[in-house]
Symmetry: C2
Subunit: 315 residues, 2 copies
């Protein structure tokens, strides 16, 4: 077990899968997870935080493994009735999941900060790792599709099933967003900072956009390692490849490495992209190749070990 402290920049499902491995090789109480909240949305008057919940449910062992999000053994009775009032539902909120949103919403309404509520929820799920929202201020990611007005992220991602050519990502509210308490300290104090294999634009991008985060990473760049979510020119999951293409980036591991070059000193790409190692190294990044497909917690653990080794931390 690595005794060192680790910070992870995380989106949802990909980051959660990675965490299932990371907690096998590092002590959970030494891990701080800084989570994207740009995807958060209000549904039925409730504050829903998909990435925070995916991370929380995964670490608690209550996630629906097939989907990678939501609760295992979930039912949708309330949602069926909500349709009576609101019309057809396009965002799945399960009955068990609702409890989390009710608690979060009531606490926020009482004036608690999202970081406090997130810690309370994690504690009730007996999670030892520290889960931080990137900010207590609201950032609302919008996706601009060709020939259309910008859509809130969940409408693009869930309702439209990520269809359409993405021209731009708008991070509304990002200028006002300050890092949540503990975020900058975790980055400055970590022996290793890992950027999870999440979508660079809509999962990691919002975190990097929060005031001071990019600077904090630059200050410890040689301890920062990013993992490519692009393998063989395609996203392992989700629309990252189409976003890279739509916004004029190279759709490759190298394209992702280039996106992170100012703040990540190391980069892990998949064996399938081994021939890009040199190109990434020419960006001034310590590139390594390994198996990045996390088809089991054991494989995720091996990937986590490789990422830590790339910044000089050995499990």
């Amino acid at each position: 077990m690595a005794k060192r402290s680790i910070a992870l920049l995380a989106g949802g499902v990909g980051a959660a899968k990675f965490l299932r491995g990371l907690v096998r090789i590092a002590e959970p109480h030494r891990i701080t997870i800084i989570v994207n909240t740009g995807d958060d949305e209000q549904f039925y008057g409730l504050h829903v935080a998909p990435d925070l919940d995916t991370i929380t449910y995964t670490l608690a062992g209550v996630v629906n493994r097939k989907n990678g999000w939501g609760r295992a053994g979930e039912s949708f009775r309330a949602l069926g009735e909500l349709e009576r009032f609101y019309g057809p539902a396009w965002f799945n909120l399960g009955d068990r999941d609702l409890a989390t949103h009710l608690y979060r919403s009531e606490r926020l309404h009482e004036g608690a900060a999202l970081s406090e509520v997130t810690a309370e929820i994690a504690a009730r799920f007996r999670i030892k790792a520290r889960i931080l929202p990137m900010s207590n201020e609201r950032v609302h990611t919008h996706v601009k599709l060709k020939g259309r007005p910008a859509l809130p992220f969940q409408e693009y991602f869930v309702r439209r099933r990520a269809r359409g050519s993405v021209e731009a990502i708008e991070l509304r509210g990002i200028e006002q967003a300050r890092p949540a308490p503990g975020v900058l300290e975790a980055l400055a104090g970590a022996d290793a900072v890992i950027i999870a294999p999440s979508n660079p634009f809509v999962s990691i991008g919002p975190i990097l956009g929060v005031r001071g985060v990019r600077e904090a990473l630059r200050a410890v760049r040689d301890r920062v390692v990013a993992i490519s979510p692009i393998v063989g020119g395609r996203s392992v999951k989700g629309p990252a490849d189409r976003m890279l293409r739509g916004m004029g980036h190279e759709v490759s591991a190298r394209g992702v490495a280039n996106f992170y070059r100012d703040c990540a000193g190391a980069f892990v790409l998949d064996e399938a992209d081994r021939r890009q190692l040199e190109a990434v190294r020419r960006l001034g990044i310590n590139a390594v190749a390994t198996d990045t497909i996390m088809s089991s917690p054991a494989r995720a653990a091996a990937l986590a070990a490789a990422a830590l080794a790339a910044v000089g931390n050995h499990a």
Copy 2:
């Protein structure tokens, strides 16, 4: 079918049972139900209105018939998870039921009046009768037990299962409560006003306490008929008998009639209490005896017909 318009002052379960009969002999769209909201409570940040929902679910045919409240075929998955955050639950909120509370709470939060939201919910359940909350202002019924501070009604009724000797009922906020739009008009314009066999203190009392309601009833007293919830010296259901006793009233149909004497010109008591007819008549009330035990909708319909007949309305 009576073509005349009817107003019903209603609490929860007893009034709902009565309505199952009333809608058999009167046209639903000519019925206005004025419902107690003193029992309303906030749970998990949601505005729960037990009496409104019992009436609505009953008229929609989706009520749990065994309990008399809540939804049929209900599950409690969300509640089980809410206990993770809030500790053991003492108020049963089902998954289907939650949808109603979510909708109501969001609309109220948006600034809608409770009467608007109540009408919207009734419309979504295709209810033809008009359901009005007694007031759009918050009245919060508290129960003062011997030797204890006053408790919110649901804590007394559900959490403590109505145990303890009731010394007084406090209707907090009643001085500021104005009748909801349509309440006074319904009373003034009705061919018959029926006071349901609900608890006189905690179900009907709050409605009578709303500014102008008692006066409106007095003005049409000869068209107002109350139905006794006390049969053979005991409540058919609930703690009305103990409340009468605790607050120094006679625990009898006559005791209830006396409570309503200023605003009800007629009174229906049970055959079992036939010997009290004369005593009630001496209060200046047109008393009639019939079977008041509503063991079926048909029996409830017969009771409704008897009540209407007592104020000169014949089905």
